[in-house]
Every structure is written in C-alpha cells, then in structure tokens.
C-alpha cells in the first residue's frame, strides 16, 4: 500500500462512523498549546513570529484545532453530541533522528457523548478498525487511565493542598519522588500573625505590615491573597509533618502496576483492599468494564493489550482512558495509532465558557508504512 492508499483506507473508516470531515486552521496562536500544556511542549512546537511580532505555531496535532472548532460551536449556543474526522498534516520538531517535521494524522474526535466505558471501548475499536484497514497488525498496545492516580489520592483523605500537590507532581517526570523526599519548610515568626488572622482583609493587612517591616516591595502579578494562601498551604504541610508514610506506600504500589489489561482491575482492586481505600470502586469498575467491552469488540487484540498506571501522564491534556498502538519495525516512542479521553480540554480552551466530554484517536500513515516494511 502507498501512503495515499493508507490515508484513504483509514479515512474511509472514520467517515463511515458518521463524523464530519474537517480541515481546521494550520496556524494557531502559540498561547493555545503553551497555556494548555506549558513550556515543556515548546521543544516540539514549530513556532514562528508573525509580521506584528505575535508568536504563532503550526498545529502540533489535529485534536487542538478541532477541539477549538467544537468549543466555538458550543460557546455560540449550539448543543448536542458532535463528531469530526480528518486526514490532515500536523507539524512537530523531531524528537528523534529521522522523525519527520511534517506528517499526516488520520483521526476523529467525538464530543458530548456519555463518558462511559462503552464509549471508550467504541473509540478504541474504531481506531483499530482503521489500523486493520491499513493492513498492519499491531504488535503491542499500551493502555492506561489518567483518572486512576487522582482517584486513589482523593481516597486517601489528605488535606486538599497535599492532594493537589501530588496530583500535579504525578504529571511531571520524577515529580512525585521529588515531592515525597522534600522536607516541609518552616513558617517564619513574622508570618504567624498573617496566618492567625480571622478574615482575608486582616490577613492581607498583617501580611503587608510584615513586608513593610522587612523592607520588601510588593512586586509581581500574584495578589496578596494568593501569597497568603500559599503560606497556608506550607503551614498545612508543616503541621501534617510532611507527607505520611501510607501515601508513599500507596503511590509505590500504584507505580508498580504494569500488567496485561485483563489483570488491571484486579491489581488496582488489590491495592484498594490492602490500604482500605473505599472510594476507588467506581474507577476500578470502569477499568474492568472497559476491558471487557474491548475484549468483546476485538478478541484478537486481547493478548497484546497491556496496562500501566503511569502510562501517558505527560500527555498533557488527556485526563482519562488512553492508549498507544505499536507496530513492527518501530520503537516504543513511535506508535502507529493512539488516542484517549480529554474531557477537560473544551473547558480549558474556552476559559470555562463551554464544556463537553471528548475522546479521539489517530492513525499515523507514515509510521504504518514503516511498520509494513518495504514492498508491503
């Protein structure tokens, strides 16, 4: 098959699912990916400056501009589920030698449907129908669920500050380890009155007075209220004596979940039982049910589906089920297909003006071609 034939085959599958074909803007303000995902993604973005000096990027994937279309549609008052599909170019700076800067993504994005295991399984099956239409057999599929870690942290009943810290750290390389190793910092004497103040105004007044006494100017765009709440967070961690030992154990146990997708729910359940975490039932059921449905839809992929609890944590806007499909002749960092759930993205893109569940998936024809090898 040629690249053209692969594109045609995969696109046919997504169009047949009833999605509307789109080809959104190639160019986005750099604020869109950078505010959403942070500077870490900049290293992969094709950035340029327009004639007025505004920083722009070539779209790094189709999910962002397509979600942008949907956010606009919803913010303008049109509601109800919606689905788009595309076969279009995206642009990224190469992460490894030989990666192309310009490549095609064939995919779909679905919005506003029930965010349940059957929708996850259907989206997964649709991507793999397209992979099959391209005539390539996957050799391994990694799956994960980014809702698992936050749910387990919530189930520990920690102070919110600590829980939030851990959840954020989870999404960063080495973040949780660094956090667990850090000693809580002390509160300085002249800040005690700020912390003991009864109202926000009293706290702000006490804080300003303390700054003045130290001869420190109040500069920067963080407000006094934000700094005071940061101080309270530090005091809370200090009072709790750092992060408790059970938290370390639970995180360690979660981090070691690396099994077949069929075993995932049992392993997660064993952790919940061992540490008496009762509020994890719904996520465990969800992982179990999703895998059952995937097995029913795609019985031949059962043997190659793996599950890792930390999988995909640096895929910045994904927040639930996600997967990557590997083909022959390629490395682990070059999936032929991938996809996942990103229920928070529409809200993030529209500053909360719109909200919709979302799931999508793509096939990479250039990699499919490499997976099929020469003369295929």
């Amino acid at each position: 098959m040629t690249h053209v034939a692969i594109v045609k085959a995969a696109r046919g599958v997504f169009e047949a699912s009833g999605a509307t074909p789109v080809d959104p803007s190639y160019i986005l303000p750099s604020d869109i990916p950078l505010e959403l995902s942070g500077e870490a993604v900049r290293a992969r973005l094709c950035v340029f400056t327009d004639h007025r000096g505004n920083e722009m990027v070539m779209r790094p994937d189709l999910t962002l501009p397509v979600a942008g279309l949907e956010a606009e549609r919803l913010a303008s008052g049109t509601h109800g589920p919606n689905a788009y599909c595309y076969a279009a170019e995206a642009f990224r700076l190469p992460a490894a030698e030989g990666d192309p800067m310009e490549f095609t993504q064939i995919g779909f994005e679905r919005f506003g449907r029930d965010a349940d295991p059957s929708e996850d399984a259907e989206a997964f099956a649709l991507v793999h129908e397209a992979v099959r239409a391209c005539g390539v057999r996957p050799v391994a599929i990694s799956t994960g669920d980014l809702a698992v870690f936050p749910t387990y942290i919530d189930a520990l009943g920690l102070p919110r500050v600590t829980a939030d810290l851990l959840k954020r750290a989870f999404r960063q390389e080495g973040g949780v380890r660094a956090l667990l190793e850090a000693a809580p910092l002390p509160i300085e004497d002249d800040m005690v009155s700020t912390l003991q103040a009864k109202t926000a105004e009293e706290a702000a007044t006490a804080f300003r007075a303390a700054l003045q006494a130290r001869g420190i100017p109040l500069i920067g765009t963080r407000s006094v209220a934000e700094i005071v709440s940061g101080l309270r967070a530090r005091a809370a961690v200090q009072e709790a004596g750092g992060i408790p030992g059970t938290v370390r154990d639970v995180i360690g146990a979660l981090a070691s979940v690396n099994c077949t997708a069929a075993e995932a729910a049992d392993q997660l359940d064993a952790i919940a039982v061992r540490f008496s975490l009762s509020r994890t039932t719904s996520i465990i059921d969800r992982v179990a049910r999703r895998m059952e449905l995937i097995r029913e839809l795609l019985p031949d992929l059962k043997a190659i589906c793996g599950f890792r609890s930390g999988f995909g944590r640096r895929f910045t806007y994904y927040d639930g089920f996600l997967f990557e499909t590997l083909g022959p002749n390629l490395t682990d960092s070059q999936p032929i297909a991938s996809g996942g759930r990103y229920d928070g993205l529409i809200s993030g893109l529209s500053n909360g003006r719109a909200n919709a569940t979302a799931i999508g998936g793509v096939v990479r024809p250039d990699r499919v071609l490499r997976a099929k090898g020469r003369g295929a």
């Binding site: 950078l34 505010e35 942070g38 500077e39 870490a40 900049r42 290293a43 939030d164 810290l165 954020r168 750290a169 999404r171 960063q172 390389e173 080495g174 973040g175 660094a178 956090l179 850090a182 910092l185 300085e188 800040m191 303390a210 700054l211 130290r214 420190i216 100017p217 109040l218 500069i219 920067g220 765009t221 963080r222 407000s223 934000e226 700094i227 005071v228 709440s229 940061g230 101080l231 967070a233 530090r234 500053n351």
Partner: protein, 237 residues
C-alpha cells in the same frame, strides 16, 4: 574551511582576559584597524582565521560548527546547544567571567522558596488568572531543561532582551532566570534566589566544536595552542 577559525569576545573584560590568556601561552592577538576593528591576527599558530565576535555568536558558531574553537561563556554554550553537551566540548575553564545562572522570584513571595513551591504557586496562579505564570529570561533552552528536570511545568517563557531583573517590577513577568555574580542587582530589584534554583555555575571557557571540519591544518593549529597552554584535547571523533 580547513584553517583554524578561532574567536574571542570582541568587547570588555572577557576580551582583555582572553587576550591575556592567549598572550601568556605565547600567541599575542593584534587587532586590525585599531581598537574598534573586528578583525584581528594571532601570531605563532600558522594560518589562522582570528575573529572577534560577541560571546553569544561564538557559542552559536561552536554549536553549529562554523567556528573551530573559541572563548565564550558556559552559560551561552549550554543554552544554545539543542543536544546539550554533545554539541560542544569544553577543553579548559579559564577562571574568569564567573557568574551563576539562577531562578529568582519576588522577595514578597514568602510562600515560595523552592522549585516545588514555585510549581504549586504556578498552578494556583493559572486557576486564578486563566494564564500561566511568566518567566523572563535570555536563557530559553537552559530554563526549559532545568524546569523540566525539577518537575516544574506551570509557567510560560518570555524572552527578555535585556534588564531581565526589572521584569517583575514592570509586570512583564513574575519570575526570572538570569545571571548573577554577587546577587546585589537582584536584591535591589526586590528579588530572591530559590534555595534549589541554581541552574549553572558558569565561567569563561575555551571550547571547541565537534561539528567543525577538523581536516587539514585546523587540527595542527589547535594542537599548537593546546600544547603551549598545557590543555588536553582528547579524541575528536
């Protein structure tokens, strides 16, 4: 391009010190066209293309291979090299031009003393302001690498053209990554260094480019210089 192209900074103390170092090794530099010229000659190394450039241009030239060797700041080499230390080779630390590249925040942020607390403050900031905390710097790559290594993702970079330390006062950014030797400028601008915010202890270095074309007389000239200055080259492949 097979003759050695060698560059030293064109201005200031870095230039003087570089000339002193070369002269002490037995290779005096003379400027063509007087003190303001940008062309120069070096004696005793054979046919060498001697250039006077800004420290940033020298670092860039070493990284992309358009210069064979030069004196520049480690901070610039680390910042301009996309693949980190594979893009340049420091042969000798020169003991002058010393400064630290650091992360600094307003002193008023009594709740932020570590990179982890900066990340927490950044996350809270994004919730409250619907945008990310801004970090002003001339060191775009160095900052990105260091923040990623310290698990800090809640920020946006703003490229600073100069006077980075003023950014928090003027409101163009809250956090800065900048170079400091005594910390006095930071203090005068109401800033403090994070306790784990030391990115790099930098000084002037003599460095070579692994990407440059080392065939022909270039290598011989370099060897003459390093032998006289008592520096090990090691393998160039």
């Amino acid at each position: 391009m097979t003759r050695l192209s060698l560059a030293i900074p064109s201005k200031g103390r870095l230039k003087e010190k570089s000339e002193e170092w070369l002269a002490a090794a037995g290779f005096p530099v003379t400027q063509i066209g007087g003190e303001r010229g940008y062309q120069a000659e070096i004696a005793g190394l054979g046919d060498v293309e001697m250039r006077l450039l800004s420290a940033r241009e020298i670092a860039q030239g070493l990284v992309d291979g358009s210069l064979h060797a030069g004196v520049t700041g480690e901070d610039l080499l680390h910042d301009l090299a996309p693949d980190g230390e594979a893009d340049f080779r420091v042969l000798h630390r020169l003991g002058f031009g010393g400064a630290d590249v650091i992360v600094a925040v307003p002193q008023a942020w009594v709740d932020v003393d570590t990179m982890a607390e900066l990340e927490a403050a950044g996350a809270a900031f994004r919730k409250a302001h619907h945008r990310r905390l801004r970090v002003a710097t001339k060191y775009m790559r160095l900052t990105r690498r260091f923040f990623a290594a310290r698990s800090v993702g809640e920020y946006r970079l703003v490229e600073s053209a100069g006077a980075t330390e003023a950014a928090p006062t003027t409101g163009s950014a809250d956090v800065i990554v900048d170079i400091t030797s005594t910390g006095a400028t930071l203090k005068a601008n109401g800033l403090k260094i994070l306790s784990d915010g030391l990115i790099l202890k930098s000084e002037a270095v003599f460095a070579i480019s692994p990407r440059a074309d080392w065939k022909g007389p270039a290598l011989g000239s370099l060897q003459a210089l390093t032998t006289a200055a008592d520096i090990e080259i090691g393998s160039l492949s």
